[in-house]
Amino acid sequence: MRSVGSTVLTLVLFATYLGIGALAHDTHFSLAWALASTALVWAGPAQIILISTLGSGATILQAAIAVTVSAIRLFPMVVSVLPMMRTPRTKRRHLILVAHLTAVTLWVECFRFLPHVPRERRIAFIHGLGGGLVAVCLMATTIGYGLAANLSQLLAAGILMLTPLAFLFSTARNCRELADVVALVLGLALFPLATMLNSGVDILVSGVAAGTIAYGVHRWRARA
C-alpha cells in the first residue's frame, strides 16, 4: 500500500475519478452503475467515452465502437507489461488479474517499480498496487458522485472540469513523438468540425480522421 500512496499519479487518478463520479451523476446514471464501471472497465478514457456517448443519446452499438477503439491502446500495454513478470512457472491464468489491472497509470508505474521487485514476487506486487489503485478510485468515484449531487453549482462545475484538464495534461505528457502531438492537437481541433456533421459518432469521425493524419505525418517523417 505504501507504493500506492507514494505515486503522484495517484493524485491525478483520484481527481480523474472524482470527475467520472460527478459526470455519471450529471448524466443520470446510478452510483452502483458508476462503481461497477470503475471496477469492471477500469480505464478512465473508456468510462468517460461510455458515459458521455450514452448520455448524449448515442446507441449501444455506437458507444461500444467508441469504447473499443479507445481500448485498443490497452493491447500493446498488456503485451509490454506481462513479460516483466513472467517466470518459467507462470501460467496464463495467473496473469488474468494483472491484465485486467493494466491501465495507463499502472503501466507507467510498472516501469518505475518493477525493476526493484524480485521477479517471483512481481505478480503479487502488481495485485497489491493495482488493487490499491482500484480501491482509491472507487472511493473517488463515490465522493465525486456525492459531491455533484450535493454541492453548489459552482463547485460541481469545478469537479466536472477536472476530467478534461487531467486527461489533456496527462495525454500531453505522454506524447513522445511528433505523431502523438499531431494526434492530440488535431483530435481537439477536429471534434467541433465533426459535430457539424451530426453523425452521432462525432468522436469516432474526428478521432479516426485526426489519428490517420497523424499517422501520415509519422510515415512522411520516417521517409524524409
Partner: protein, 114 residues
C-alpha cells in the same frame, strides 16, 4: 428499485457497451502477447487514433459540457484550459500544477461573474 442500483437495464448496457468492448483488448493482449512487435506500423496508427479519440472526448466535455459545467460560459471554459496548459508547459509538464491552475481560473472567473 433503489436509487443506489438504479435501472438494471443500464447495468446490462454497461456490460455490453463498456465492459466487453474494453476487456477484449486486455484479454487479446494476454493471449497473443508474444508475437506482436511494439513498434509495428499498425500499432503506431492505433495509438494515434486512440490519442485523437481521447482528445475528441476532452473537446466534447469542454465544448458541449454536461450538467453543472454548462452553467460556466464558453469563453471561461476555454480560458481555463488555456491557462492550465500554459502553466503545465511552464512547470516542465506538471499535470498537477496545470489542473490546479485551470480550476482556479474557472472557479475564480465564475465566482466573479456571480
Amino acid at each position: 428499485m433503489s436509487d443506489f442500483i438504479g435501472d438494471w437495464h443500464a447495468l446490462v448496457i454497461l456490460l455490453i457497451a463498456g465492459v466487453i468492448p474494453n476487456q477484449i483488448w486486455r484479454m487479446l493482449g494476454l493471449w497473443f502477447g508474444g508475437g506482436i512487435d511494439e513498434g509495428s506500423e499498425l500499432l503506431v496508427w492505433v495509438r494515434a487514433v486512440a490519442t485523437a479519440i481521447l482528445a475528441g472526448v476532452i473537446a466534447q466535455i469542454v465544448v458541449q459540457p454536461p450538467g453543472a459545467l454548462a452553467s460556466v460560459p464558453g469563453w471561461l471554459r476555454y480560458s481555463a484550459v488555456a491557462a492550465g496548459f500554459a502553466v503545465f508547459m511552464v512547470t516542465r509538464r506538471s499535470i498537477f500544477a496545470g489542473v490546479i491552475c485551470g480550476e482556479i481560473v474557472m472557479l475564480a472567473g465564475k465566482w466573479w461573474l456571480g
